[in-house]
């Protein structure tokens, strides 16, 4: 596959036939095979697929946590100054806040690790906590926050070093349905406000369609690309869009791709 060569059209992330094999006790296990898709700068791309299909593995490859075995992966495009250490923010299913740190100090963790000027970082952290709706909770400990609030703190933490790419691995998977809906709207607002590129992993089909400018569908087994679907719902998204015929046709198509009828 050869894409357009002009710099402007070059995607921010390009995966072409990426695969990953885990070796354990002389057994080989193909966790990801032939993942092929693009993510443009500023896009929010959903990655949907059943449990165990390799979504987390794929995110970790993109995060640079371990190498892939086959195919090519390019982030940032040619000649860009993408720095994998500084330009990736990550949010997991669990908030993973440090119990012994207050919310503000938790948000500052990446800044400390990267050795950023702390005065500025502190100001930024306060602004981010405000943006994620945690103003007034800066000095609380994680156990004093609800699950949703903890996840907001984790999102603020992923933004503190101003990375260009945010990877989210089922960030709202542990939340109740109502909180999850609210967090979806919040995420869209944060995405608009921060202008980040977001790769959002979920096993919720409706969530994937509602959030994404594009949905990448992975099927069970070793992640095999099923399809890439551009979601042409108007921005900003609103909850009532979920009842629109167009929304239904997107989700039906994905259910079909995943073999659920």
């Amino acid at each position: 596959m050869t894409g357009p060569t002009t710099a402007a059209a070059e995607p921010f992330i390009r995966l072409d036939g990426v695969s990953k094999v885990f070796r354990a006790r002389r057994q080989e296990f193909l966790a990801v095979s032939d993942a092929t898709f693009d993510v443009n700068e500023g896009e929010l791309v959903s990655l949907v697929g059943p449990s165990g299909c390799g979504k987390t593995t794929l995110l970790k490859i993109i995060a640079g946590l371990f190498p892939h075995d086959g195919g090519t992966l390019a982030i940032g495009g040619a000649g860009s100054d993408f720095d994998p250490a500084r330009d990736v923010g990550m949010v997991f299913q669990q908030p993973l806040l440090l119990k012994w740190r207050r919310v503000l100090e938790n948000v500052l963790l990446p800044a400390e690790i990267l050795g950023l000027p702390m005065g500025e970082a502190r100001e930024r952290a306060n602004g981010l906590l405000d943006m994620v709706g945690l103003a007034g909770h800066e000095q609380k400990y994680p156990y004093e926050l609800s699950g949703g609030m903890q996840q907001r703190a984790a999102i603020a933490r992923s933004l503190i070093h101003d990375p260009r790419l945010i990877l989210m691995d089922e960030p709202f998977g542990a939340l109740d349905a109502l909180t999850r809906e609210r967090m979806n709207l919040e995420l869209l607002r944060i995405w608009k406000q921060s202008r980040k590129t977001i790769l959002f992993v979920t096993h919720g089909i409706a969530e994937a369609v509602f959030l994404g400018t594009k949905v990448v569908v992975l099927t069970a087994g070793p992640a095999r690309m099923a399809d890439r679907i551009d979601i042409d719902l108007p921005q900003p998204r609103t909850l009532d869009m979920k009842t629109h015929e167009q929304f239904g046709s997107y989700t039906r198509r994905i259910y079909h791709l995943l073999g659920v009828e």
Partner: protein, 258 residues
């Protein structure tokens, strides 16, 4: 939440005091009503009054305190230190951990006479016995705490190319503090037991030594007072550890043990 005196805290301390007073009361009634002979069970009053007998209470209490605190301090330093070594150097852990477990199987009481042969008897020997009994739970819980790091959390900082030192200082060590304290709390009881064992096997001072001395004269009140003093030394040490834990470990992260 904060360290202020909440109604809950006041109630808890009241309950603690009341329960202890109740035991003293039952003890008193048992002696009074049950007409138990003095040499079997002394009354609370007689027990306290034995403090005014001519026994060297202060000296012996100081000796036992030195043994318990000394052995315990050593146990914390060596236990935590070894656990850190194990966590930094895998090979050291693989080599030494099985050895530590076997060594721990040695009944320290049986080893007591040997330790005395090696180190002569006295405070230093009893410190070593107290240490040898109490350091293992600290080592094991600390090692476990250092190992028990959320892998996703490590991934989170590894993305930013965090150094091993950063992972240790910012995540591993603070995360292991609750475990360290959990081991330290268990070890208090063992350090007390160790010091007493040492004094009973061979010693020329200390509260347990004193018990052996007055046993001959059937001074039950003094024996009971000595037991109470040993217990109090242990309780003081335990409270010091609890206080430290409160200072260092955030409430939610504390590991409940005894």
């Amino acid at each position: 939440m904060g360290p202020g005196l909440s109604a809950q805290t006041i109630w808890r301390w009241t309950a603690i005091v009341l329960v202890h007073l109740a035991v003293v009361l039952i003890w008193y009634l048992a002696v009074k009503v049950g007409k138990v002979p003095k040499f079997v069970l002394a009354s609370p009053g007689d027990t306290v009054l034995s403090l005014f007998d001519t026994y060297p209470w202060f000296h012996n209490t100081m000796v036992t305190t030195a043994e318990i605190f000394g052995g315990y301090f050593l146990a914390v330093v060596v236990g935590v230190g070894l656990a850190l070594l194990f966590s930094w150097f895998r090979t050291v852990e693989n080599l030494l951990m099985p050895l530590v477990v076997s060594l721990n199987m040695i009944p320290k009481v049986a080893l007591g006479p040997l330790i005395i042969v090696w180190f002569d008897y006295g405070i230093q020997t009893n410190i070593i016995i107290a240490f040898s009994i109490s350091f293992l739970p600290i080592l094991i819980t600390t090692a476990r705490g250092l190992r028990e790091v959320e892998p996703d959390l490590v991934d989170l900082v590894r993305i930013m190319r965090a150094t091993r030192r950063q992972v240790f200082v910012k995540i591993q060590l603070p995360g292991s503090l609750p475990y360290i304290f959990s081991g330290m709390k268990v070890a208090v009881v063992l350090a007390v037991a160790g010091a007493v064992v040492g004094e009973i096997i061979a010693s020329d001072s200390g509260l347990a030594y004193l018990i052996g001395q007055v046993q001959v004269t059937l001074d039950t009140a003094a024996m009971m007072m000595a037991v109470i003093l040993i217990t109090l030394v242990g309780v003081v040490l335990y409270l010091i550890v609890l206080g430290l834990e409160r200072l260092v470990v955030v409430r939610d992260a504390r590991v409940e043990t005894v």
